[in-house]
């Protein structure tokens, strides 16, 4: 029970990802849009729906984009600047098309940084996301007055809690960063493609917030992505194989499931420590008509290394407290039993808000991933520690 009448028709990115590309967010987003149109074999006049999240420190507002590229839309959604919305934007685009509110929806997102484009346009400043300033605690578990004022410092608390509870050590944390970096080294677009990571180089980097070192943190980078969704009956017009959305699962949130990069039961934020029991997030498998064993490659929102442990457990690829051992035994590389983040992820490709993973999933299903191609990939899954997920198939 997926979106039988809907497909991902095309994907595209900015020409490069980097720390300082010297281009405006609007320019980057246009690059991604043109690349996705070309990939889909559609023209801009086909696009009548647009979904975006304003990037950091300042992305592109929907109407600014509409003016710049000269499109005429009848559906727009603009979300909060975050890497949180990859699942929900795709599902929303599918629902909008299904409901007849638009025929072709582009989902475009851009990030620029204070150290990059922000330097060229001083008024942007650092453009901090003010979520961390929620005085009673941010969505990652931040608490400014107590010195945990970044998502990384707050997520270190999740990793520490997991390691103490289940016996994992920094050696196992390192294996996540090393495995995903190895994938990035096979991706010509990945920012870290020429910087292979070993246990030695991992430990040579300083601790930022114990247990996290630099390689446990995602890249703060610039770049843009675009995905175009359309009705499947347009498939004959398309330049590339249409990709099917077999099933989706939206973002979960509750008082017991608040800290974004912890699965439930982790006793961070306000939730109590509890044994982890499979929750509704796994409903995505039944709706897609698959089991975890059918997934050929998994794509995880890897803003921090420990997210991989959280996601593997939340979606049942291993049992509670077993993910660290699972990764140590199986690895995450393209050749692993379950390859994870074959693009290099947010850790080593670029911080593309999760959409970079979706672009990669489409390319894997089409067999376009070159040296990092997962042989015979026919079912790929996007999943996050928050519980949202997409299953894509040919």
């Amino acid at each position: 029970m997926g979106f039988e009448h809907i497909c991902i028709a095309g994907v595209g990115t900015s020409e490069a990802f980097g720390f300082d590309l010297g281009k405006s967010p609007l320019r980057l987003q246009v690059e991604a849009f043109r690349s996705a149109l070309n990939d889909a074999g559609l023209t801009k006049s086909d696009v009548d729906g647009f979904i975006t999240a304003k990037g950091a420190p300042r992305g592109v507002d929907y109407e600014e984009f509409v003016l710049a590229v000269g499109i005429d839309i009848r559906w727009a959604t603009q979300l909060w600047a975050h890497g949180r919305w990859a699942t929900n934007t795709v599902l929303e685009a599918a629902m909008v098309i299904e409901a007849g509110l638009a025929d072709v929806v582009a989902i475009a997102n851009t990030s620029v940084t204070g150290r990059g484009y922000g330097r060229h346009l001083e008024a942007l400043g650092e453009g901090a996301i003010h979520e961390g300033l929620r005085d009673m605690g941010g969505g990652h578990g931040e608490n400014d007055v107590h010195g945990l004022d970044t998502p990384g410092a707050a997520t270190a608390l999740v990793a520490r809690s997991y390691m103490e509870r289940y016996g994992a050590t920094s050696d196992e944390l390192a294996k996540i960063a090393i495995g995903i970096r190895a994938n990035a080294c096979l991706n010509p677009m990945a920012m870290m493609r020429e910087k292979p990571l070993t246990t030695e180089t991992y430990y040579a980097e300083p601790l930022l917030t114990d247990p996290f070192r630099r390689a446990d943190y995602c890249l703060a980078s610039e770049g843009a992505t675009c995905l175009i969704l359309a009705r499947s009956d347009r498939a004959s017009d398309l330049a590339s194989s249409p990709i099917r959305i077999a099933a989706g699962e939206g973002i979960h949130a509750s008082r017991d499931d608040y800290v974004m990069f912890a699965r439930p039961g982790m006793a961070v934020g306000i939730s109590q420590e509890a044994p982890f029991v499979a929750d509704g997030a796994r409903g995505v498998f039944a709706r897609a008509g698959i089991s975890p064993g059918d997934v050929d490659a998994l794509y995880v929102y890897d803003s921090f290394t420990s997210n991989v442990w959280m996601t593997l457990e939340r979606f049942g690829f291993c049992g509670e407290g077993e993910a660290w051992q699972y990764v140590a035994d199986n690895g995450l590389s393209v050749g692993a039993p379950l390859p994870v983040n074959t693009n290099g992820g947010l850790l080593s490709e670029a911080h593309l808000l999760g959409y970079g993973h979706l672009v990669e999933m489409v390319r894997q299903l089409r067999g376009e991933a070159g040296p990092r191609q997962v042989e015979g990939a026919s079912v790929v899954q996007w999943a996050t520690a928050r519980g949202d997920s997409l299953v894509l198939t040919l």
Binding site: G147, D149, S161, T209
Partner: protein, 146 residues
């Protein structure tokens, strides 16, 4: 009970004090660690806020609680990557503490022996001077506390 004051240290970031949470900060200013309790269903409310998450009542009181607690998880910040006011304080420990009378509170943890950041470590809340109208609190491990 009145909280002890942690001398010689100042919190670099002052708490935001606003109508939804001011009872907590007012309590600290008077030397009491308080929690917000719903007047209708008696549910302790955390995060502090304008409404009971269980019954949606606005009515509440601020009730003093014991300062003792147990560390749930804590980390050591070695490099300030956010607000640079923290740079001069690194390394410092910060984490979550389950209070004896509930709820769980976030806070920095002062410890000289290293064991105060371990799961289960016994700590207590003390007053910490901060800029602005209210003091803050910090947790202190028994190695300092005696």
């Amino acid at each position: 009970m009145t909280m002890d004051r942690l001398d010689g240290m100042t919190a670099p970031v002052a708490p935001l004090v606003h109508p939804d949470t001011e009872g907590f900060w007012d309590g600290l200013a008077e030397g009491e660690l308080c929690v917000q309790v719903c007047s209708d269903c008696q549910t302790p409310r955390f995060p502090f806020g304008p409404v009971c998450f269980r019954c949606l009542s606005y009515e509440h009181t601020w009730q003093p609680v014991a300062v003792e607690g147990t560390v749930v998880a804590a980390v050591v910040v070695h490099r300030a990557t956010g607000d640079q006011v923290w740079a001069q304080h690194t390394p410092f420990a910060s984490g979550l503490v389950d209070m004896k009378d509930g709820p769980r509170l976030p806070g920095t943890i002062r410890c000289t022996c290293g064991r105060g950041i371990e799961r289960g470590a016994a700590v207590r809340a003390m007053l910490l001077e901060a800029a602005g109208r209210s003091p803050l609190y910090a947790f202190v491990h028994t190695c300092i506390d005696g």
